[in-house]
């Protein structure tokens, strides 16, 4: 056996076995607190005016809970993160790295917007909205299934494939906007308000929240209680086991991606039809990627994902407001805070999976031999 290089680093990592749920959540909670503390420190660094440290935290809560409108906007923001995250979670469970939620939602939004705008005005609005829903979901499915088919048939790398599909969708949106509105190629024309579902519920964002709650419960049931969900876990843990007991993992992959695409497409439909009533190439603005982080942090479990979505949605809206309070540029501030918090929380996962030990100078090999006997 070749001699291993000598490592003198005083700390080393060991895999943890059997960590209690309480400790896990304590570590995570601690990480979130540390992250928020760092975010506060960062915010004072970023603003030269020397604003008090506490203003950042005040802003976080004032921006999210002060008015009833704020709370509804917050719920809508959380719901979009939640929907995008639970859309990618099932595929992640079987180690299919679909990071194309952004593009799938965009594809759904594009088709929705085109249908809502271009259908003749003689058609009843309800019918047009239903058509847009079907079209949006189908577009999401198509955007998701193409990489899945190639992954299954030719073993094409799905991470890179879905990543590229995101950008194709973004530029297609820009193309559609410029194509439809030749006089103002930067902006999509306003969609007739009667054709959005804003009016049905009276308040703008409610359909998105309802969809998020319902789908989260459904998906929780699907993943935890059905045979389909069980199959995903088996494939994720061991493809060989899955093959041995006769699971058709290629069909399961395609089936799961159809579901992912459908939910993402639905998000695209909802954003256009219940929130913005227009199309822009920055409609999803990176939230699909953040959702991937959320899904991973939540261990692909809808209940945990919901918790992290709340955190990110809260930070997103709260820090934007806090920025205006502490005299920072609010457009880019939330990105800094979310990115920082994510980095810290991701780090915390290490302390859950591994234990840090101090290297002991005494050799314990003789002891080990005794135990073996």
């Amino acid at each position: 056996m070749p001699k291993m290089p000598k490592i003198n680093f005083p700390l080393y990592a060991v895999k943890r076995i059997g960590i209690s749920k309480r400790t896990t959540w304590l570590i995570r909670g601690g990480a979130v607190l540390v992250a928020l503390l760092l975010a506060g420190v960062m915010s004072t660094f970023l603003t030269t005016a020397g604003t008090p440290f506490i203003d950042f935290y005040k802003g976080l809560f004032v921006g999210t809970f002060n008015h009833s409108e704020d709370i509804i906007t917050l719920l809508c923001g959380i719901s979009i993160y939640l929907l995008l995250a639970i859309a990618v979670a099932p595929a992640f469970r079987m180690k299919f790295w679909n990071i194309g939620g952004e593009g799938q939602a965009m594809a759904g939004a594009i088709v929705t917007a085109i249908i809502l705008l271009k259908m003749p005005s003689t058609m009843p609005d309800t019918l047009v909205i239903i058509m847009a829903l079907i079209g949006g979901v189908l577009a999401g499915i198509i955007w998701a299934v193409i990489p899945a088919i190639f992954k299954v048939k030719c073993r094409t790398n799905e991470t890179l494939f879905t990543l590229m599909m995101n950008y194709i969708a973004t530029f297609l949106a820009a193309f559609v906007i410029a194509f439809v509105n030749t006089s103002h190629p930067e902006s999509f024309p306003e969609i007739d308000p009667n054709r959005t579902i804003i009016k049905i519920f009276g308040i703008k964002y409610i359909p998105i929240v309802i969809a998020a709650v319902v789908l989260t419960f459904l998906l929780y049931f699907y993943l935890k209680k059905t045979k389909h969900g069980y199959e995903l876990s088996v494939i994720g843990n061991s493809t060989n086991t899955a093959r041995y007991i006769g699971m058709k993992s290629s069909w399961i992959a395609i089936r799961t991606m159809i579901m992912s695409g459908a939910i993402s497409g639905l998000v695209g439909f909802l954003i256009v039809c219940a929130q913005t009533a227009t199309l822009s190439s920055g409609l999803i603005s990176g939230r699909g990627f953040t959702a991937v982080l959320i899904a991973w942090l939540g261990h692909f479990n809808p209940a945990e994902i919901a918790i992290y979505s709340c955190l990110v949605g809260f930070l997103d809206q709260g820090s934007t407001y806090a920025a205006s309070l502490i005299g920072a540029n609010s457009t880019y501030f939330s990105g800094v805070i979310i990115g920082l918090v994510m980095l810290v929380v991701v780090t915390a996962e290490f302390f859950i999976n591994y234990q840090v030990k101090v290297r002991d100078k005494k050799i314990i090999e003789p002891k080990k031999k005794k135990e073996a006997q």
Binding site: A13, R155, F161, L172, F179, T290, V292, N329, V336, T347
Partner: protein, 323 residues
């Protein structure tokens, strides 16, 4: 002919961004890191470079001329430093703390884009000296017009253009022909075997990612200082160039010298709006690099050709006890 000259001239300008990005990313990926943080790291580099240039131009008296060599050296030092910090964060999290590479990468991209955009937005805008510095470095050979059409096409680039080309070739040679390159490729292909052969996997992964990140950072700097002539704007989509470099690496089959040609082609696509003024067509053209990447990915996987495949250990962390 005039249009073609203009196209090539502009493609030469933009291509350095891609070459730096792709070369740096090739080094990172050869070590087995699928670094989705590249867009964020590129943005870090862009900000760092601009900050360095600003510090320099502010230090020079208002009527004194700027020194081209100093602009280039200072901006490169700052850009590489800032980008290397991004790479270091990535390494600490993936190598030492064994976090999922995709997740860490995406976090760094979110953080990097957010922070850099924010910091650029608070920089004083409309700094004329910065623009002057940007203009000053744009032509390495001031007499390029005297070499006729050829000169206008290929000799009009900045120092960065030619530096990028040389660097890509050098990196290609190092990766293919030297012991260090061989070791690095071994670490990327099969870290367990490399470890058994006595290669320090963690050290190689740390160094390759930090050096690669620094090179990626120069790409961001070139974008703001050279291509945008130092007129900075936080809405500049440096990150979209970062994502493109990921696809260029695939298109070049992990050979940085091939990435020179691909960068040139994508640089051409970038400036095609000069011909097609219709914004709809422009946006459609922008999808071409991504579609081409997908086609290459599919062709590579159908052929099963090993030469076109990513390093086998790409995206997987190495923990000795997992064996």
């Amino acid at each position: 002919m005039v249009t073609l000259t203009l196209l090539v001239k502009n493609a030469i300008r933009y291509m350095a961004v891609y070459i730096f990005g792709a070369t740096g990313d090739t080094i990172i990926e050869k070590g087995g890191h699928l670094n989705m943080g590249v867009p964020g790291i590129m943005f870090f580099g862009a900000y760092g470079g601009i900050l360095g240039t600003l510090l320099y131009v502010n230090g020079v008296p208002a009527d004194a001329p700027l020194n081209t060599a100093l602009i280039i050296i200072i901006s490169i030092i700052f850009a590489t430093l800032f980008a290397a910090i991004g790479g270091l964060i990535y390494c600490v999290l993936t190598v030492s703390l064994k976090c999922n590479q995709n997740i860490v990468g995406l976090s760094i991209t979110t953080f990097g884009i957010g922070l850099s955009r924010y910091l650029i937005s608070v920089l004083p805008t409309g700094n004329l000296r910065l623009v002057e510095a940007g203009r000053q470095i744009q032509n390495l050979f001031p007499g390029y017009m005297s070499a006729g059409t050829f000169g206008e096409m290929f000799l009009s680039g900045s120092f960065f253009t030619y530096f990028a080309i040389i660097l890509a070739v050098v990196v290609s040679v190092i990766l293919a022909k030297t012991k260090v390159g061989l070791n690095l490729r071994a670490v990327g292909e099969n870290p367990a075997s490399a470890d058994a052969a006595g290669i320090n996997v963690n050290a190689y992964r740390y160094l390759s990612t930090i050096i690669g990140s620094a090179i990626v950072g120069i790409g961001g700097l070139v974008f703001l200082l050279d291509c945008h002539s130092g007129s900075i704007d936080p809405t500049d989509a440096v990150d979209s160039y970062g994502w493109l470099t990921l696809s260029i690496v695939i298109l070049s089959a992990w050979h940085s010298w091939i990435s020179i040609l691909i960068s040139f082609a994508i640089g051409m696509l970038n400036v095609l709006p000069i011909i097609f003024t219709d914004p709809a067509v422009t946006n459609l053209i922008r999808t071409i690099p991504y579609v081409a990447t997908i086609v290459v990915l599919i062709v590579a996987s159908v052929l099963g050709s090993k030469k076109l495949q990513p390093p086998a250990g790409l995206g997987q962390n190495y923990f000795r006890e997992d064996r």
